[in-house]
């Protein structure tokens, strides 16, 4: 099936021990209203559980909500495990109480954009759509060049 016809599949995940799921549930509903296919993990997930769900559900995006301050441990660990599982094409994004310095540091480790408190849900939706469009552009280019000779 051509990439463009498939709905964007997003895993909304709550890693770690933090139980604050207001943001995760609001963003999951907003993603669904925006036409994404949304899978929500529920609370208290380990990075291993999240990666296994991401691979099984064949998602395009893992969106994690972390309000516990443990983001510097959890985001890199999910990235590492996704890479090990051969799924490093999955976009990792998310939000929570994360300082700008930490956002930058995580970005340097291959994590996508992270959103702080007060961000409109539309901003995260647009970011994922743009990312998907760019990826499908890249994919089309790649397949054309493969067919070309």
């Amino acid at each position: 099936m051509p990439e463009g016809d498939r709905k964007i599949r997003v895993l909304v995940a709550k890693p770690g021990l933090d139980g604050h799921d207001r943001g995760a549930k609001v963003i999951a509903s907003a993603f669904r209203d925006a036409g994404f296919e949304v899978i929500y993990t529920g609370l208290h997930q380990t990075p291993e559980m999240i990666v296994s769900a991401a691979v099984q559900e064949d998602v395009d995006v893992v969106a994690m909500s972390v309000l516990s301050g443990a983001h510097m441990t959890l985001f890199p660990r999910v990235k590492e495990l996704l890479t090990e599982a051969g799924a490093d094409d999955i976009l990792i994004t998310g939000g929570g109480i994360i300082s700008e310095d930490d956002m930058e540091a995580l970005h340097g480790q291959g994590i996508g954009r992270l959103f702080g408190p007060g961000t409109p849900t539309g901003e995260a939706i647009a970011y994922i759509r743009d990312w998907a469009a760019e990826r499908s552009g890249r994919a089309n280019q790649a397949s054309r060049s493969w067919e070309a000779p």
Partner: protein
């Protein structure tokens, strides 16, 4: 005119008076209709919502007409300290004793938090409130693999009696009242606390303070649970029973609406779910055969205080009246202390913005004022930087000073329940009570609180309300200063924030390793098997848990011993 004078009046006098009253009401209605007609013709602002933050339609004007038909002053309000306690739980309120200024605090290890407590007490704070880190809240030791990256980050790490001893080192527990926000493993942390007090030579009967221990709202909103509902409720009733015998000045529960509201509920849902949970605990205690008038006086409450000023004031007043009426009329309590709802309040963390964070000082001040006008017994005022990180010392000091200004400069505490008699506040109080009664009926229809939790009924109601609130803000209908109105185009945070060094985790792991090596292993094993065995019977578990605590068993070891019998909770997942 007093009621007695009314009674003395002759029959004719009374008739004349009643007919004069009817005439007055008729005239009032006619004038009100005229006013409403004028009102309808004048253009209004269309740039903002006139509903409350809870989505409540708010009238533009309230009059005596809105209060017609109630049970009258004595029936619906009465006097402070008297049934139905609408005007306050105590006769003299803040004239005798100001509310307790209690700032929730905890970070890193017990040593760092102990220093912060001493700082707060030195600055005039009058009670302590312990914030635990996520591993502790979930019953994991600091050296458990699931704790990685979370030790001491969001609160203080307490994994055994040894940590609790350090936490209160040099703080006499017979003199300072301490509140502990812990729920899933509440019985275990309570045991650490009792054992730490014993080490100071303070017996449990001298302890004043509160353990949150409200598991129902954990399933509904905050989500720090360990066991499934039935064994969790058994542990809570065990604590009621134990505390009423051994720690009569201690509150073994704080039935909390705070987390329900922060998760996105309306004011009505917060009020009704919380009181509904309270009634569930009362029924569980009575089902155990406990005398309601022995344990109900120690049930305490905790509400949020949000932005919508009058709705919040009314919420506190309605809560007291509903509790009093149900305790007296439905549960047959005869001790006035069982009817008297006492509450802690905290300003709404969720109302704070990361943008222009200094504005939060102002939000907190208004919210604190609402809590005091609502008649709270203790108050936590949030620090301006709490959407960014744990608060700095400076931010906490400003938050505490905000309460002190309210207490000593505004004159607000001098008069009891000064908003009573406001047509608006009284109408809101009545309305909130009626709405809460309607929710109690709905909960009964779905089979009660626990079946409602299992079906996700409460959780769904809260999530729907949260989504509505978010949509209102995103559409720009609800204005939030600095966020979607009066923005400054720059997201740069211009205040200092506190960061927790990653070395804290190593330090705490080293403490744990020392503890595990040094304690009496035989005593540890014996205490844990005794607890596991008791869990399999109907015995009260507080004493066996206390013996584990005294033996320096760790939090997770004690959690696990009971988990082998109780199992663990699996949430219904949906969004």
């Amino acid at each position: 005119m007093s009621d007695r004078e009314w009674e003395k009046s002759s029959g004719t006098d009374l008739k004349e008076r009643l007919s004069a009253r009817e005439e007055e009401i008729e005239e009032l209605k006619a004038r009100l209709a005229e006013w409403e007609k004028m009102w309808a013709d004048i253009p209004k602002r269309d740039d903002t919502l006139f509903t409350s933050i809870s989505g409540r339609e708010v009238g533009s004007l309230y009059s005596p007409e809105d209060l017609e038909g109630g049970p009258g002053y004595l029936g619906s309000l009465g006097f402070p300290g008297e049934f139905p306690f609408t005007r306050g739980p105590y006769t003299t309120m803040y004239r005798t004793r100001l509310w307790t200024m209690r700032q929730f605090a905890g970070f890193a290890t017990a040593e760092e938090t102990n220093e912060r407590y001493k700082y707060l007490l030195a600055n005039g704070q009058t009670g302590l409130s312990v914030a635990f880190d996520f591993p502790t809240l979930m019953g994991y030791d600091s050296d458990h693999p699931r704790s990685l990256g979370e030790v001491g980050v969001c609160g203080v790490a307490i994994s055994s009696l040894a940590d609790m001893e350090t936490l209160f080192d040099g703080i006499p527990l017979d003199q300072v009242s301490v509140s502990m926000t812990i729920n899933g493993p509440a019985s275990i942390l309570f045991a650490f606390y009792v054992a730490a007090a014993e080490k100071q030579g303070v017996p449990p009967e001298k302890l004043r303070g509160t353990v949150q221990n409200d598991i129902l709202k954990e399933y509904q909103a905050q989500h720090a649970w360990v066991y499934p509902p039935e064994p969790a409720l058994r542990l809570i009733v065990d604590m009621f029973e134990w505390a009423s015998e051994h720690a009569p000045k201690y509150n073994p529960i704080s039935i909390s609406g705070y987390h329900i509201r922060e998760a996105g509920s309306t004011a009505t849902q917060e009020l009704a779910f919380t009181l509904g949970n309270g009634f569930e605990y009362v029924e569980r205690g009575m089902a155990r055969g406990l005398d309601v008038d022995r344990f109900a006086p120690r049930l305490s409450f905790f509400f949020d205080v949000h932005n919508d000023f009058f709705e919040e004031v009314a919420k506190f007043r309605a809560a007291r009246r509903i509790w009093a009426r149900h305790m007296k009329e439905k549960y047959g309590a005869t001790n006035p202390d069982s009817w008297r709802l006492r509450t802690h309040a905290q300003t709404a963390g969720v109302s704070l913005t990361a943008q222009q964070p200094e504005n939060n000082i102002v939000r907190v001040a208004y919210q604190g004022l609402a809590a005091v006008l609502g008649g709270t017994q203790s108050l936590h005022t949030n620090s301006m930087d709490e959407t960014l990180a744990l608060p700095t010392e400076k931010a906490v000091r400003i938050a505490l000073r905000t309460q002190q200004i309210l207490a000593y400069e505004t004159g607000v505490p001098n008069t009891v329940d000064p908003l009573a008699g406001s047509y608006y506040v009284e109408a809101l109080t009545n309305q909130l009570e009626a709405e809460a009664e309607e929710i109690f009926r709905q909960v009964e229809e779905i089979g009660g609180v626990v079946p409602g939790i299992e079906a996700g009924w409460f959780q769904k109601g809260i999530a729907d309300s949260a989504f509505r609130q978010q949509s209102e803000v995103e559409m720009g209908h609800r204005k939030i200063v600095g966020l979607n109105a009066f923005t400054e185009g720059s997201d740069v945070v211009e205040i200092d924030t506190l960061s927790i060094s990653p070395e804290i985790e190593d330090k705490q792991r080293a403490r744990m390793a020392r503890l595990r090596a040094e304690r009496d292993h035989e005593r540890v094993t014996a205490a844990l098997s005794a607890l596991e065995e008791a869990a399999g019977t109907g015995a009260n578990l507080v004493d066996p848990i206390l013996e584990c605590a005294r033996s320096y068993c760790t939090l997770y070891e004690i959690r696990e011993a009971m988990e082998r019998v109780f199992g663990s909770y699996k949430e219904p997942v949906f969004f």
